[in-house]
C-alpha cells in the first residue's frame, strides 16, 4: 500500500482513533480541573472517580458486549435494582451468608441474560423490545419483593463495603473498584484472545458472513446476553455495597448511562467496533464532569446531563465521519 495519503487520513482510519480522542479529552478535562480547583491535585479525587462509578463501569462492560454484536440491553438498571433488593431481602430474612447470597444474585443475572438472549435469538426478536420487557419485569419484581427500602446490615457485607484498600499512602479504593477493574481486564482479554470474543466481533461485523464462515452465531449471541446479564448483576452487587440497601427505584436509567459511556468510549452502535479500555474512559469522563459540578458548588447537577448530551452528539457525529472517511479511503484504493 503505497498510498500518498495524509497523516490525517491514516489517523482517522486507525482502529484506535476514537480511543485516542477519548483519552485526549479525559486528560484535557483533568488538566483543566487541576488548574481551576486545588482538589483535583489530590490523588484521592482520582480514586473517587472509580469508587463512585464502579457499578457503572461494570454495567458499561456488559453493555459493550451487547453493543458489539449490534444488539442492545435496556434491562440493566432494573436488574441492578433487582439484585440489590434480592440481596437485601435474603440477608435480612434468611440465614444465608453474604457469599452465598452473592452467588445466588449473580446466577439470577446469568439466567436473566440467558432468557433474554434465547428469546432474541430463537425467535429473531428485536432486542430492544425483549429487554424492555425484561426491564419492566425486573423492576416490577423488585417492587413486589418490597416497596420499602430494606437496609443491609449483615456484618460481612458492611465490612466489605467500608473496606479501604490503600494504593498510595493517601489514596484508597474500595472493593467495588477492584471488582470493576478485574471485570474490565477479564473482558478486554476475553474479547481479544478467545474465540468467543472474536466471534462477537465477527457477529457484529456481519451476521450473515459470520454464519457462512461457519461460526456458531446462535450460541455466541445468547452467551453475549448472558455476559451482559451477569455484568448487570455484578454491577448490582457493587451498587449494593455503596447503597447498603434494596429499593425499587435504585439505578433507574443506569443502562442509558452505560450506553452513553460505551459510545463516548468509541463503541459503534451498529456493532463490530469497541475497545473496552475506551469505555472505561467514557465512564470516567462522565465522572469528571460530575466532579467539576460538585466542586463548583453552585451549579445544578443536571448540567452533567447537558454536557454529556453535547459530548454524545459530538462523538456520534465523529463516528459517522470516521465511517464515511473509511469508505472514501477504501474506495480510492482501487
Amino acid at each position: 500500500m503505497k498510498n500518498v495519503k495524509g497523516l490525517k487520513d491514516r489517523l482517522v482510519a486507525s482502529r484506535y482513533f476514537s480511543f485516542g480522542i477519548t483519552a485526549f479529552l479525559f486528560i484535557v478535562l483533568y488538566v483543566i480541573g487541576m488548574m481551576n480547583y486545588r482538589g483535583f491535585l489530590k490523588p484521592q479525587v482520582f480514586c473517587n472517580l472509580f469508587i463512585d462509578n464502579a457499578a457503572l463501569i461494570i454495567a458499561t462492560v456488559g453493555i459493550t458486549f451487547v453493543l458489539l454484536i449490534g444488539g442492545i440491553d435496556i434491562s440493566i438498571g432494573s436488574v441492578v435494582a433487582l439484585t440489590c433488593m434480592t440481596s437485601a431481602q435474603l440477608l435480612a430474612n434468611t440465614n444465608l451468608g453474604a457469599g452465598v447470597v452473592t452467588v445466588i444474585v449473580l446466577a439470577i443475572g446469568l439466567l436473566f441474560g440467558l432468557v433474554q438472549g434465547w428469546l432474541i435469538t430463537e425467535f429473531d426478536m428485536q432486542p430492544f423490545i425483549v429487554t424492555l420487557a425484561g426491564q419492566f419485569f425486573a423492576r416490577g419484581l423488585t417492587a413486589i419483593i418490597s416497596r420499602e427500602t430494606i437496609d443491609i446490615t449483615d456484618p460481612t457485607y458492611t465490612a466489605v463495603a467500608s473496606a479501604r484498600v490503600y494504593i498510595m499512602p493517601k489514596a484508597f479504593i474500595s472493593v467495588g473498584v477492584i471488582i470493576a477493574i478485574v471485570t474490565l481486564v477479564v473482558a478486554t482479554l476475553v474479547l481479544k484472545y478467545t474465540r468467543f470474543g472474536r466471534n462477537i466481533y465477527a457477529l457484529g461485523g456481519s451476521e450473515s458472513s459470520a454464519q457462512l464462515m461457519g461460526l456458531p452465531t446462535k450460541s455466541t449471541k445468547i452467551a453475549t446476553y448472558m455476559v451482559c446479564g451477569f455484568c448487570s448483576a455484578l454491577a448490582g452487587v457493587v451498587y449494593s455495597l455503596i447503597m447498603l440497601s434494596g429499593y425499587p427505584l435504585h439505578a433507574v436509567g443506569m443502562e442509558m448511562d452505560a450506553i452513553a459511556s460505551s459510545v463516548i468510549g468509541g463503541t459503534l452502535m451498529s456493532g463490530g467496533v469497541a475497545f473496552v479500555p475506551g469505555t472505561l474512559l467514557g465512564v470516567l469522563i462522565q465522572g469528571i464532569i460530575q466532579t467539576f459540578i460538585t466542586f463548583e458548588g453552585t451549579l445544578s447537577a443536571w448540567w452533567t446531563r447537558i454536557i454529556i448530551a453535547l459530548l454524545l452528539c459530538v462523538f456520534i457525529v465523529m463516528q459517522a465521519i470516521i465511517v464515511r472517511n473509511r469508505h472514501r479511503i477504501t474506495s480510492s484504493d482501487k
Partner: protein
Amino acid sequence: MAEHALLTMRGICKYFPGVRALENVDFTLRAGEIHALMGENGAGKSTLIKVLTGVHAKDGGRIELEGRQIAPSSPLEAQKNNISTVYQEVNLCPNLTVAENIFIGREPKKAGRIDWKAINKRASELLRRLNLANIDVTKTLDSYSVAVQQMIAIARAVDIQAKVLILDEPTSSLDENETQRLFEVMRDLKKQGLGIIFVSHFLDQIYEVCDRVTVLRNGELVGEYEIDELPRVELISKMIGKELGDIQNMGKNASAVSDEVLIEAEGLTAFGRIKDFDLTIHKGEVVGFAGLLGSGRTETAELLFGVAKPEKGSIKMHGKEIKLSSPLDAMKHKIAFCPEDRKVQGIIGDLSVRENIIIGLQAKNGMWSHLSMKEQQRIADEYIKMLQIKVSSPEQLIKNLSGGNQQKAIIARWLVTQPDLLILDEPTRGIDIGTKTEIQKMVINLAREKQMSIIFISSEIDEMTRTCTRLAVLRDRKKVAELTGDEINSDRVMAAIAGGV
C-alpha cells in the same frame, strides 16, 4: 490427472412449492480442472450450488466426494467436507483484520489464548503464495477494495484445505486487471489439484479460464462439454434451447418508423454496467436489447431511466442534451420504465387495479394534484379496455390477478403518463403464451399507432425478432452489433451474441 473424478452428483432433484428447480441433474468435477456451470436465469445453477453447499437439502440423488457419500446440511458441514464457496458478495467481516478474516473460527492458539503472531504470520505467507504480497494483514478488511476482499475470501476458502472451490460470479464486481489476477490465482490452484466450479455470465471469461462446461436449462441437465470442442454459438443455443436455423420468423413488425430522432445516446459509460454505448432511437421504433443475462441489457436501460448516472457520455432527447440523475427526472422527460421483476419493483399488491394504474399519473403530477374519483375510474376503464386486462372490476386487488394481467396493468400505469419512450424489461417473463402474444401485439400497436418509441428487453430471441424493428446486441457489457430490417433473424442474433464467429 484430469480424469480422476473428485466430486460426482447423480440424479439430483430439488423441488420448491410449485417449482421444479432441479430434475435429475448429474454433475461431475475432476481434480485439477476449472469447470464452468452455465445456464440462463432459472436454469438451476444456484440451486445446484446451494444443494452442494448445504444451504438447501436435496430431494433426491446422491453426492459423492472422492467416492464417499456426503450430504452436507449446512455451510459449516460443507466446509468440513472440504467444499468451500466464495460468493458474489464478499462474505467476510469488514471490521476484522485481513488475517483474522482468514483464520476466524480456527485460530491457532498458544497457552489457551489466540496466538495473534502466528495468525498474522501465516496469513501473510498464505497471501504471498497467492501473489498478494503487498497486503498488510493487520489492517481491517474494509481498508481494501472489493477485488482484494474477494481474493482474501478465496485465500480463506483455500486455506480450509478445500478440495472443491466454488466461485459464484466472483468477477461481477471486478475490473479487467483484477479479473486477470483472479484467473492467475485460479490457474495456480488448479495446478495444485483443486477442483474449481466457476459460475459466470461472461462468455469470454468462460472460454479463457475453464476446461469444461456443464449446461443446465430449466432445471435439467443439457450436457457436459469440453470447452475447446464447443463453439460459442452452440453453447448459447444450448443455454437458450434453440437450435440454429430452428426458428422461422413469424409475422414481422413492419411498422413505419418515422425519421424523427427521439433519443440519442453517445458513448454512455458506467462502471460495471456498460461501456461506450451509442444508440439512436427514432419515433415509433421498437428497439430490442438482446444479449445474455448480465450482458448489460437492464443496466443500460436503467441508465436511460436515471437509476444510475453515466460516468461518461451524453443523452440527447429531441436534439437537446438532458441530464437524468433520478427516475423522476426521466419521468419528467416522458420516459417510462417497466422493471423486470414486477413482484418486487412493480405492483403494489394490496391496492386495486385502478389505484395501481393511477399511481403513475399521481407520481408524475405530484402528490397534491387531486384526481377526482370519476376521472380515475374513467382512465382506469379506458386502459383496462385498451390492453384487455382481465379483471372482475377495476377495484379488484391487483395481487389476485394472473401474472400476465398484472404485467398489463403495470404497462397501463406507465401508459397513462403518455410517455415518449417506454422501456419494457422482460415484460413477458413467466406469463402464458397467449398473453405473451397479446403483449407483443400491444407493443407493435403502440409504436405503430401512437408513434411511441419502445425499448424491448427479452431473453427470448424469437420474441425479439418478431417485435423489434432494430436490435442492439450486447455482450459482456458492450454493444457488439446493431441489426435492422432483414438482418433481424435468430441466426444472426445468436451469432452476434456469441461473438467471435
